[in-house]
Symmetry: C2
Subunit: 223 residues, 2 copies
């Protein structure tokens, strides 16, 4: 042990789980079940184990919460004010994750007492969690323009309208339909199928899919 004279602290990961549902971007939050802060709205999180990397911890927490592995995650930042946690010194690494709500077993959500809340309506959260959410949103907005992460929030087959509504929900502003579709058509890895979705219109809309293989060959992405 080389460094034994130095202070050790608890390290946690807190996850901002984004989902897209009913045309809105939502995150999962719940009321804290434990002191300190019992009853306050909060992100879901967990402590980092002694033999667990930060990434592994984030994935474990997400698995615990959703039953899903290999979710897309992105580190948001690390929060280390001395008094950020009223219980004890805890440094927290925030991650955001993207899930397709349809893949998510709602019973599990209820078990954890979590709610999907529209990002614009997120209430006051425990400690510095609101800051984490704002930072996550900001990073996601930057990312969604230049990286194919939208598809993590959508079913594997989706319509262009869905893709656009998602983009608008993330960016918080409407965009022109024709211009949006022009950009999508420049990306060959967003492939039109012959399948038609009739759930939202009588005419029906073509379903598209993201071809990761094609993207990896020519990873040009711009929305």
């Amino acid at each position: 042990m080389y460094y034994q004279e130095y202070a050790k602290v608890l390290v946690s990961v807190d996850v901002i789980v984004f989902g897209f549902d009913a045309g809105k971007l939502k995150i999962l939050i719940g009321k804290r079940q434990l002191d300190p802060g019992r009853g306050e709205w909060s992100l879901y999180g967990g402590f980092v184990g002694a033999d667990e990397s930060l990434n592994d911890a984030a994935h474990r927490v997400l698995f615990d919460l959703t039953g899903l592995r290999n979710l897309y995650i992105q580190q948001v930042g690390t929060f280390g004010s001395v008094d950020r946690d009223p219980g004890e010194r805890v440094i927290s690494v925030a991650y955001y994750a993207l899930i397709n709500v349809k893949d998510y077993d709602d019973a599990l959500r209820q078990q954890h007492n979590l709610e999907w809340v529209i990002v614009e309506n997120v209430p006051k959260l425990y400690s510095d969690h609101n800051e984490m959410v704002q930072m996550a949103l900001k990073l996601m907005r930057t990312k969604i323009k230049t990286a194919p992460i939208s598809f993590r929030l959508l079913p594997s087959l989706f319509t262009l309208t869905q893709l656009q509504k998602l983009y608008e929900a993330v960016m918080g502003e409407e965009v022109d339909k024709r211009n949006f579709r022009k950009r999508v058509k420049d990306m060959d890895f967003i492939e039109k199928t012959e399948l038609i979705d009739k759930t939202t219109s009588k005419r029906g809309a073509y379903l598209y899919r993201f071809n990761k293989r094609a993207y990896d060959e020519d990873p040009y992405f711009k929305l």
Copy 2:
């Protein structure tokens, strides 16, 4: 104590100190004086104290190193592989900092056995420090285009050629002089003075200064 059953770990901050000198972007690195990794090139860092925020720790480490306070710092990311430090489990938060090399007492640099190394020539560093440097550079490149951070790397009076050379050194590519100056002239808070610098040409070049007050009123920045 609410969380006593969980593992505590050492948390350190490692700083990527950027400086601009002789037309090149450089960082400060030194050979580790302690085991583990004694003799390897490494970033400068320090452990986070029990009653110290991450930001405070970063500023303290920088003060220790440079004697300067209130340097511009930016969190880069947090590195938490289990085996990233061969001595013991250490989670490290990387920050980059910008300093004006002229403000920096070179004796202090020597005391710490640090060297300025051109970013393109950075050798293999201890542990994951090369990754930290790459991430810091990437973030800085994004930032320098849209935020007035260049001025942290330059003397308070600078010529447009200096500003351009700095920009080129950060971006790693040359830019057109006339186009660059056009963009600078769109930003009224980059003020021309009547002073002339004759150190780099016979003709002399006007010195400019960054007017923070004017910037805060109309914080439009785009290079």
